[in-house]
Amino acid sequence: MLPDTLHKLPQAERFAYAKLLAFMTRVDDELTIDEMAMFEQRLGTALLSPNQRKEIRAALKSPPSLQECLEGLGPEAGRLALRDSVLMAAADGNVDDDERAILDEITVHLGLRHDAVDQLLAWTERGFAWMNEGFALLNELA
């Protein structure tokens, strides 16, 4: 759960954002349950229409090209999509070379700083530590 500005973006941009995340799920040809849960979580935040959700779920089976996904993204949607692509890629505990290459390609397309992915990975690590604190708290009280 990330409180952010995603839901404030125009619907077309939220759709483009979700399409990029659908693309990311297929990069390493393996969709783990953790990645799927993260994808569904972000899809929920995007507040898409039921028909758009159907389209996005269809894109999970046959993803559009990266270029097509990037075309509809404005600057803010692009940054949020990159951030959440990093989160999704890291959701199974490992960002493999194929995923990293795509993340770097998105960074270049968006014209972001060259260390953007590294910064986002560091941020993601801090976030996973925070989530683990929550689990630890639950376990302490069990």
């Binding site: 409180p3 569904e40 929920g44 507040l47 039921p50 960074t107 941020w123 708290l137 639950l138």
Partner: protein, 123 residues
């Protein structure tokens, strides 16, 4: 669990976009069936009371529920008095110590600070 969270989101009289997005994210993470999500969305218009659904949740999940409830309450930027009162009542009804709620508030605050740590300007 989602019924309780809907009641929390509606505690201050309105479900704002941030809370709706948060609820959708939780439904997504829980990978609920689309029909179940629709049924829950309908409850946003007429939020359920929280006590009944809470009683049906196993005690070992009460702290998790409290975490999620506090997160939903905070996601629009601030805890409303009605939301805090509701969280205190939930904590008490679930038989949890007030210290659990304080730890939950701290955990939520840490999470919100983490999430805010990467603004659009950061990259």
């Amino acid at each position: 669990m989602l019924e309780v969270l809907i009641a929390v989101a509606a505690a201050d009289g309105a479900v704002v976009a941030e809370e709706a997005a948060c609820l959708e994210a939780i439904m997504g993470a829980a990978m609920l069936h689309p029909e179940a999500r629709n049924a829950l969305r309908n409850q946003l218009l007429e939020p359920p009371a929280w006590a009944g659904p809470l009683a049906s949740i196993a005690p070992e999940h009460h702290v998790l529920l409290l975490h999620l409830a506090a997160y939903v309450a905070a996601v629009d930027g601030a805890y409303d008095d009605d939301e805090v009162d509701l969280l205190k009542s939930m904590c008490s009804d679930a038989g949890l110590e007030p210290s659990v709620l304080n730890a939950t508030f701290q955990w939520v605050e840490d999470g919100l600070m983490w999430a805010a740590g990467v603004g659009g300007q950061a990259v």
